[in-house]
């Protein structure tokens, strides 16, 4: 009797869920449609891209477009530049904000609160509003077309400092007391105790920093002229403008540029969500 009831309830719930699943699938199809079409067109011969009506399925997939993207257009170089830039920015941001967040949560020093407020205030300055003097600085340092020019202005982050401080504040104070008694200096306490307990927060910041650096557009556009120094974003944007006869190859390049980030976002979804909702502090 009871089992029957249970089964019936499960069946009812499934039946109720059917329209829900229809909505879910249709919405997913709409969201994925631009990605899907890019994938289809990246496998077409160029003639198919220029004819009406458009195809929704590649009849004879041209996988060679992907090989061309790696050989005929400088995708490997673009990817390497982006990888170097994003890695340097990520490592730098983690270093600077770990140190600052540590000072703001475990050390006592004059003007601590005022300094923390100054740090936070940098989040109110839109990067785009200070881009002209920043460009002039990089120009004067002769850093145009260099990795320094691409990365150094982004090596510190108030968001990262804030995020890590939020986490450091949750660590029990007794840890610090015990470390003091054991004669640990600040650096040793940070390296041996705080960092091992903060892997998730650090991973969150790393995912964020990398994604943001990899996806930058305006700054690399300004500080790189040499095609060899272009990042993947600037590379595909300029190629789709110049290589109209090879749009399919450029689209294969676009897919190649997107895939690592798609992987990052899916694999580290948990950390991404945590970072995006880090501001959600219940007051």
């Amino acid at each position: 009797m009871r089992r029957q009831k249970k089964l019936r309830r499960a069946a009812v719930r499934a039946a109720v869920s059917v329209p829900m699943y229809v909505l879910l699938v249709v919405s997913a199809a709409v969201i994925l449609f631009p990605l899907y079409m890019t994938g289809v067109d990246s496998l077409q011969p160029i003639s198919k891209l220029l004819t009406y009506p458009p195809d929704f399925w590649p009849e004879h997939p041209h996988w060679s477009n992907y090989r061309s993207a790696m050989t005929d257009i400088p995708m490997p170089r673009y990817m390497l530049n982006s990888l170097i830039m994003a890695t340097v920015v990520t490592v730098g941001q983690i270093l600077t904000s770990t140190l600052a967040a540590y000072a703001f949560s475990f050390m006592r020093f004059p003007f601590r609160n005022a300094l923390f407020f100054i740090f936070l205030s940098t989040m109110m300055v839109p990067w785009e509003a200070s881009i002209i003097p920043n460009f002039q600085i990089i120009q004067r340092l002769d850093w145009i077309d260099t990795y320094q020019g691409l990365t150094v202005p982004f090596l510190a982050t108030a968001f990262g400092t804030f995020l890590l401080r939020q986490h450091f504040m949750t660590l029990p104070r007794e840890l610090k007391d015990a470390a003091d008694i054991d004669g640990y200096g600040d650096l040793r306490f940070l390296l041996r105790v705080v960092i091992p307990l903060s892997r998730a927060a650090l991973a969150t910041l790393a995912v964020f920093s990398f994604l943001q650096a990899w996806n930058q557009y305006l700054w690399p556009l300004l500080v790189t002229n040499d095609p060899n120094m272009r990042t993947v974003q600037i590379g595909i944007a300029s190629l789709q403008d110049q290589e109209v006869q090879r749009t399919n190859v450029v689209l294969a390049g676009t897919v190649i540029a997107l895939l690592p980030m798609l992987f990052l976002v899916i694999a580290f979804q948990r950390f991404l969500v945590r970072g995006l909702t880090a501001g959600a502090v219940k007051g």
């Binding site: 009406y52 009506p53 100054i118 740090f119 989040m123 804030f162 305006l218």
Partner: protein, 307 residues
């Protein structure tokens, strides 16, 4: 240690020495970030304001002090006012679009159904797509001749459009691209907001006999309003900082119909070499974003803005 019983002057001296020692100890931790912020945030901000007081010749070399004349020109020029209007319009389209769609998607994946994690991943996946990647993808869909969008619209019997070359549609087309790009982010934040709503609220609503629709209107939406406000303000700020999609899709045209503020700054500074005027525009942008952030802080103290 009997510090408490020590004579006062010595204690004070020791206190001062301690403060100095603390400052020295903290410096290596704080100075790297502080130095970078000073050089790449604070100094450029002050210099932008300074440059706004100077007119530059067409080669961007000589700077002549002109006082507030340039700021006045910016605020009264019809071009800049138009770009403010365009940016406002763009903000309106994108905020309404991504908040509404984000809310819809978050509500869809809120319930725990089998396989829901897959759908959550799909709906939030667009955060991976950069502005350049998204723009190149949409350029293809928006192509008036062979693009899929016009094909589908035509099949539906609706009039097709020259999306990126018709002043009436270009901003709408860019807004569509932007909404697609931002909707993953909106969905993530709204979903987190939904999951923070205490279950008791729904229970008491159910006891009162509220149907699902009533629950949505009278429980979910009011409880979610701080989140929705947060998403909207962040969306407005994003709109005021947009550049890449305009540079790739329209370059500000046709007839300036997509010249948003940042594109205008970029064009003045880096294509026309009018650094002074561009700086004055940048300062106006800074003030606008500052005010928006202030609204954010005041209106929703539950949520803290960050980038």
């Amino acid at each position: 240690m009997s510090i408490a019983s020590a004579p006062r002057p010595r204690e004070r001296r020791r206190g001062r020495a301690k403060v100095v020692r603390e400052a020295v100890a903290a410096s290596p931790f704080v100075l790297p970030s502080l130095g970078l912020f000073s050089l790449f945030v604070f100094y450029p901000l002050v210099r932008s304001i300074w440059l706004g007081f100077h007119a530059t010749d067409p080669f961007g070399r000589r700077e002549v002090w002109v006082g507030i004349a340039q700021y006045r020109d910016v605020l009264t020029s019809s071009d800049f006012r138009y770009s403010l209007f365009v940016t406002g319009q763009f903000a309106l389209y994108t905020v309404i679009g991504s908040t509404a769609i984000g809310l819809y998607l978050a509500l869809l994946v809120h319930r725990r159904l089998p396989g829901i994690l897959l759908f959550r991943t799909v709906y939030t996946s667009t955060v991976a797509s950069s502005v350049a990647v998204s723009s190149v993808m949409w350029l293809l869909l928006l192509n008036p001749g062979v693009g899929v969008l016009n094909y589908l619209i035509g099949k539906g019997g609706l009039p097709t459009a020259n999306w990126l070359t018709d002043p009436k549609w270009a901003l709408v087309a860019i807004a569509m691209t932007t909404v697609w790009m931002n909707v993953g982010l909106a969905t993530i934040v709204i979903l987190a907001g939904l999951q923070n709503i205490p279950e008791q609220l729904y229970e008491s609503a159910r006891v009162d006999g509220a149907r699902p629709w009533d629950q949505l209107l009278h429980v979910t939406l009011p409880a979610l309003s701080p989140t929705l406000l947060f998403v909207s303000v962040v969306g407005v700020i994003f709109a005021f900082e947009s550049f890449g999609q305009i540079d790739i899709l329209t370059k500000g045209g046709p007839l300036n119909s997509t010249t948003v503020i940042v594109y205008s700054i970029y064009r003045e500074a880096f294509l026309h070499y009018n650094v002074g005027l561009a700086s004055a525009q940048a300062v106006v942008l800074f003030v606008i974003v500052l005010l928006l952030t202030g609204v954010q802080f005041l209106a929703a103290q539950r949520w803290v803005f960050y980038r």
